[in-house]
């Protein structure tokens, strides 16, 4: 195949904002090339530069080996199917398609022949006298394609041509476009943000991000061998796991060594491992390379998307003592007051303030009649940095007072490999629990639950809050509450339905693992 178009180090700026940062790309004859990327990645700009509607700030575009800078759009052997088609509303279908030929002043009978052939190609010969404004989106789309192709361009540019169509029509037009491209045998350059469209139609996909090409390759290459996390994420669903390349064809993740087919990384280089959901098989737990628990199952029409957790996160369990105390009443001052016992870490004692104590004890005072809050003016306590129980008394200006205990304990934490999780035991009232709007979050706050990396540098989100009571029907007593961080999860496409909670094994072959360098 012959190189038809070469982009050489194309740079484009708009208002001193760089939208293309040095694009190098070769496009061959008869290729169906797709520029794929999110909106604003520069893909349409490339198309407009090729069409002649924009001039690049740097670099050159070669067409058939000739630099086409300065050649106006109407002299280029390139035609475009525009976003929303840009059909001429004052002309009917026939005249829209014939437009380019009439401009070139071709003989009338030739025009007639060519236009009718094109309308047959797109299946619209019955509609030639129809006004374009009276046609459906799919039909307008076909008119736009016919109008461009009738000029026999060497390249057809398509700028998100299916964006305005509904899903069913879009699928139909995808097949249609591919058929047309094969029939006319010219280069199609197709711009889209829809990865599925790109995978079904293209000979070559160019994945773009922020004005740069991330990867160029066939759909299979890009799908199976994404060069980085961005491409892997953009093209299809994938499981991306952090790992270390021990040596060529040997990668470590989840503390296990696996065979793979990739090589060329440095020894012990930190990498990311991609496994496509359809490449993982669920097997009995004893046969799996990894084992885990089914966490969720979603029916996706043809298959189930099953999520298996192989490693649970770090967990810590604390006790919550629930009581149902009556607030202290001070009838003469029309005041009520409440507070509860609380646990505190020894390490927090040196920096303890009265405000902390009020907050931890949930101490509140209010006017009994109006429920208007009254400020707590005095906090009496004595505490040492030693384990034990210490009395605390809160009081208001008018003498209402409540006494509670502050229990100083060792730091309650759990370490698990690289993670540490902290939480303290808590005392709560039935009302606190019942009135909570987001109980999980409140429990985290009350128990001061936090997780960190072992070096204490980075916080880790606590994603699991497990308890065994119903918020509505809480009674006094002691309840265990477990906080946990996220473990490793795998998304797997299965045809069989698994139950949540099943223990299963995961199996995959060495060539199902795709190793990528870590980004940035």
């Amino acid at each position: 195949m012959k190189k038809l178009i070469q982009f050489k180090n194309i740079v484009k700026e708009f208002d001193s904002q760089i939208v293309l940062k040095g694009i190098n790309l070769d496009i061959y004859e008869n290729e169906f090339v797709t520029l794929l990327g999110p909106s604003g990645c520069g893909k349409t700009t490339i198309l407009r530069i090729l069409g002649g509607f924009l001039e690049p700030n740097e670099g050159e575009v070669l067409f058939d080996g000739v630099d086409i800078a300065g050649i106006p759009p109407y002299k280029r052997e390139i035609n475009t199917v525009f976003q929303k088609y840009a059909l001429f509303p004052h002309l009917n279908v026939y005249d829209n398609v014939a437009f380019g030929l009439k401009i070139k002043k071709e003989p009338k009978d030739i025009i007639e022949q060519k236009v009718m052939r094109m309308l047959r190609l797109v299946g619209l010969e019955e509609y030639k006298k129809r006004r374009v404004t009276e046609m459906s989106g799919g039909q307008q789309q076909r008119v736009a394609i016919a109008r461009a192709l009738v000029n026999e361009p060497k390249v057809l540019l398509l700028d998100e041509p299916l964006g305005a169509l509904d899903l069913k029509l879009r699928k139909e037009m995808q097949r249609e476009l591919k058929r047309i491209q094969q029939e006319v045998g010219i280069t199609f350059i197709y711009v889209t943000h829809d990865q599925e469209e790109a995978l079904t139609m293209s000979d070559k996909i160019v994945v773009m991000k922020n004005g740069e090409i991330q990867q160029t390759g066939t759909p299979t290459d890009i799908y199976n061998e994404p060069v980085n996390r961005y491409v892997a994420d953009f093209i299809g669903e994938s499981n991306i796991i952090e790992g270390i390349m021990q040596e060529d064809r040997r990668v470590v993740f989840e503390d296990k060594v696996f065979d793979c087919v990739d090589s060329g990384f440095e020894k012990n280089e930190e990498v990311e491992v991609v496994i496509r959901p359809e490449d993982i098989d669920i097997v009995p737990a004893k046969d799996g390379k990894l084992t885990g628990t089914v966490r969720s199952v979603i029916f996706k029409g043809v298959h189930y998307e099953t999520i298996v957790e192989t490693k649970t996160g770090t967990r810590i369990t604390v006790e919550m003592t629930v009581s149902d105390p009556k607030p202290v009443q001070n009838i003469s001052a029309d005041e009520s007051m409440s507070a509860n016992d609380f646990y505190i870490d020894i390490s927090d004692i040196p920096e303890l303030t009265k405000g902390d104590i009020i907050a931890r004890a949930d101490a509140q005072a209010w006017k009994t009649s109006t429920e208007e809050l009254v400020s707590i003016t005095k906090v009496d306590y004595e505490v040492k940095a030693e384990k034990g129980s210490y009395p605390v008394t809160f009081s208001t200006a008018s003498g209402t007072a409540v006494a509670i205990h502050m229990i100083v304990a060792d730091e309650n934490k759990v370490e698990n490999g690289n993670e540490v999780i902290y939480a303290v035991n808590i005392y709560k009232t039935i009302d606190d629990i019942k009135e909570s709007i987001v109980l999980d979050t409140d429990l985290k706050t009350w128990a001061n639950a936090q997780a960190w990396t072992a070096d204490g540098e980075t916080g880790i989100a606590i994603t699991g809050v497990d308890y065994d009571f119903e918020q509505e029907n809480i009674a006094t007593g002691t309840y265990p509450i477990t906080f946990s961080t996220r473990g490793y999860e795998y998304k797997i496409d299965t045809t069989e339905k698994y139950e949540i909670g099943d223990r299963v094994g995961l199996d995959f072959e060495p060539d199902d693992l795709h190793i990528m360098s870590r980004e940035g």
Binding site: G51, N79, F82, H90, G100, A148, N151
Partner: protein, 263 residues
């Protein structure tokens, strides 16, 4: 029911209010006597007098020539400008639209004296040219104003599409843009014609050297009772009514012809 009668009477009275002076003018232009209150018989004497009065005939001539020229020039210039503006950046567009609004918003007398001082300061002798320039000046904003919305409603890629299919920029404008904004261009032309044809205030300040339009003629003659004015007025009413009829009927006829062709 009562309400209905009230509205009918109200509408009837306003219609009389609007048309009484017009009908009155036309009728009394055919009066055989000088009186403006008693119709004493049919006669064409005031028309004869008008046709013999070379000043009056000149003013009719100037009015029509200026109106036609101003319409053609401002329609072309306004359309070209509107297309240019539609492709310009926001600031240039905004500023130009603001300036464009000045002649529309300013009292005519202010526009008139401004132009008078401009022409005198530049030592341009007042007459046909200053009159024409002034009319073009106050007509273009109306053309731009009626063409701009049409341009705004076009597909933003339509020019690119035309050039993509082999049109040069000029061809793209003529074959693709102009056909789609024709209604706006016509509306602009119609407004320009009537604005120019009826203008008095601005013309009054910028003309000179015996070049007068009908409005100025009426104003200067109105000091004495002169039924020739009624004849002149009737001519104006006739011309404008004809123009309006043609413009309102032509689309209907075209539409009917199209329908016939469809059948």
């Amino acid at each position: 029911m009562k309400k209905h009668i009230f509205t009918k009477i109200f509408i009837g009275l306003t219609v009389i209010f609007f048309y009484l002076p017009i009908v009155y003018t036309v009728i009394f232009s055919f009066n055989s006597s000088r009186s403006l209150s008693v119709f004493s018989g049919f006669s064409l004497q005031w028309y004869q007098k008008m046709f013999k009065n070379s000043d009056m005939m000149d003013s009719i001539f100037y009015t029509i020539v200026i109106a036609v020229l101003a319409t053609v020039i401002s329609t072309v210039a306004g359309t070209v400008t509107a297309i240019g503006l539609s492709k310009s950046n926001k600031i240039l567009k905004g500023v130009t639209e603001q300036i464009n609004g000045l002649p529309i918003m300013n009292p005519d007398i202010v526009t008139g004296i401004g132009l008078l001082m401009l022409f005198s300061s530049l030592a341009v002798s007042k007459g046909f040219m200053t009159l024409l320039l002034s009319h073009v000046m106050f007509c273009i904003p109306y053309v731009i104003l009626s063409v701009m919305p049409k341009l705004r409603s076009l597909d933003p890629n339509i020019l690119d599409a035309a050039m993509d299919l082999g049109c040069t920029p000029v061809q793209a404008l003529i074959r693709v843009i102009v056909p789609q904004i024709t209604s706006g261009i016509f509306a602009g032309a119609l407004i320009s014609f009537t604005m120019s044809f009826d203008d008095f205030v601005i013309s009054y300040f910028v003309t000179g050297n015996g070049v007068n339009n009908i409005s100025i003629m009426i104003y200067t003659m109105s000091k004495r009772i002169n039924p020739s004015i009624n004849a002149l007025s009737t001519v104006i009413i006739g011309i404008i009514t004809t123009v309006l009829l043609i413009l309102n009927i032509t689309p209907i006829i075209l539409e009917k012809r199209k329908e016939k062709r469809k059948k």
